[in-house]
Amino acid sequence: MAAPEGFVAVKRYEDIPEGAIVPFEVEGDERILVKLNGNLYALGGICTHEYAELAEGDLEDSILYCPLHGSGFDVQTGRVTSLPATQPLPVYDLRVVDGIVYVAREPR
């Protein structure tokens, strides 16, 4: 089926393991999918502090930690939970239709 308006197909839902951080790109823009307790979240893939790929980071208690300086982001809201990042991570709406994950082109 066609992607919902403003969304792009990025992964098959079953290809995303629980507790994983899976990188993907939308027109060159690096982003990540995070599956936590069965819920899926789509966020920006690069730390807002300095350039670091968050797909290499750690997930702990619904906080995503940057692999470089340990900035923490709430996976549900993108809110900064620990410094040195001062800017939130963009969060993208997503939909799962027929086992395919669609992510919004523009941040929430």
């Binding site: 692999p67 470089l68 300086h69 001062t86």
Partner: protein, 413 residues
């Protein structure tokens, strides 16, 4: 509660930025004015010695937010304004232009300024300090034309500038009076590891040496070291520490002693006047002593704490200090209290380097430093927060899972 009192934020670094946001998010609804000597809105100074100097970041990219952000918060920006006088009794600042800015509450976030060396030749062209955007632009301009760079002082700023200059392909000589750089804050072991990193990156280290004078005709050409060696250089960068920017407050009645004295809410000795960040000498309620911290996280969080107090929603500020430094491909992070400690335990490989150091006092983890092991920092932070008492041998043993240790950590107090 907050009423319609006005607040002036004085300064243009990250403490100013976080205070501005916090005032509004905690419901302070009076007029807020941000007065800064800087020509642009608050920006990230930590980028100046690294990405900005290397040309990887632009001015726009180091701003926390563009000017419209402050407009959106209803905060008036007065940029490029120096304060020449403060009258605490009349509650007003005087700007260079003679204009007076009244306030009900004042938050001083003026930061710190580089210590200047008053040695012969340090007034020559090509001699730089690095604190502000203007400093970084002037240094970048000279670096682009330079071949040989002399860095005076192997502290964090000096080391980062040396690394950036190497990244730009310059020949770099780094001079420091200590035989092991950063031995004070990091100890001999980690200091030696960092010195080796610079050596391997091709930096000419002159440790245990001081610059006696600089020579040149208008522009710097040579440095004479205290052992008689002459070092050719066309740019000199001096990073020998900072002192709190308190000038305009001296004699104002504000208690100043190695920085503006503040309590755990950022309150100074005078009612309605607060301070945060590098400019303060602050009381840490958990460890029960005063400290001065010249780092980013402290400025963010203390700025937030002081703004909360001004807005009438005070929460004591009692953080475990943290900072980082990036040099070449080396990522260093520090979490914990400043010394003294009586034992340093290393974990990992000092030669790669990929190593974590635990600083213990009577077996309590006071601080943790990671070099290229950022993941261990978070576990280390837990050990420090818990004031954990650990067995040094267990800590040094790589087969010990730090995760388990951090979970088992029990407060000793």
């Amino acid at each position: 509660m907050a009423g319609r009192r006005s607040c002036v934020i004085l300064g243009g670094g990250v403490a100013a930025y976080s205070a501005a946001n916090t005032l509004r998010s905690t419901g302070f609804d009076g007029p807020v004015t941000l007065v800064s000597a800087e020509p642009i809105p608050p920006y990230d100074r930590t980028a100046l010695s690294k990405g900005f100097l290397q040309g990887r970041q632009t001015v726009e990219e180091i701003l926390f937010k563009p000017a419209e952000h402050y407009e959106g918060l209803g905060i008036e920006l007065r940029l490029g304004h120096r304060v020449t006088a403060v009258a605490v009794d009349r509650r007003e600042l005087t700007l260079e232009t003679g204009e007076r800015v009244p306030f009900d509450a004042l938050l001083i976030v003026t930061g710190a300024e580089p210590v200047r060396l008053h040695l012969p030749g340090f007034d020559l062209d090509g001699v730089h300090y690095l604190r502000s955007l203007t400093d970084a632009q002037a240094l970048g301009h000279d670096l682009a034309r330079a071949e040989r760079v002399l860095v005076v002082g192997a502290g964090f700023i000096g080391a980062e500038v040396a690394a950036s200059a190497r990244a730009l392909g310059k020949q770099v000589t780094l001079v420091d009076p200590l035989p092991v750089p950063l031995a004070g804050p990091l100890g001999q072991e980690m200091g030696s590891i960092l010195a080796e990193v610079h050596r391997r990156q091709g930096v000419d280290l002159r440790l245990g040496r001081r610059v006696a004078q600089l020579r040149g005709h208008r522009r710097v050409e040579q440095a004479l070291l205290d052992d008689g060696e002459l070092v050719t250089c066309d740019v000199v960068v001096t990073g020998v520490g900072v002192r709190p920017t308190v000038g305009v407050f001296e004699g104002s009645g504000l208690a100043i002693e190695n920085g503006i004295l503040v309590d755990e809410h950022g309150a100074t000795s005078l009612p309605g006047i607060y301070a945060a960040g590098d400019v303060t000498n602050w009381w840490h309620p958990v460890i029960g002593r005063r400290m001065r911290v010249e780092h980013f996280d402290n400025a963010v969080q203390q700025g937030e704490a002081a703004a909360r107090a001004i807005a009438g929603d005070p929460r004591p500020y009692a953080p475990v200090p943290y900072f980082w430094s990036d040099q070449y491909d080396v990522n260093l992070q520090y979490v914990g209290y400043p010394g003294p400690w009586d034992q340093v335990i290393l974990r990992g490989d000092p030669t790669v380097p990929s190593v974590t150091a635990f600083y213990l006092r009577q077996q309590v983890v006071e601080a943790v430093v990671t070099i290229n092991r950022p993941r261990e920092l978070r576990l280390g932070r837990r050990l420090v927060e818990a004031r954990a008492r650990v067995d040094p041998a267990t800590l040094a043993d790589l087969s010990t899972d730090l995760r388990t240790l951090a979970q088992a950590a029990r407060p000793t107090a």
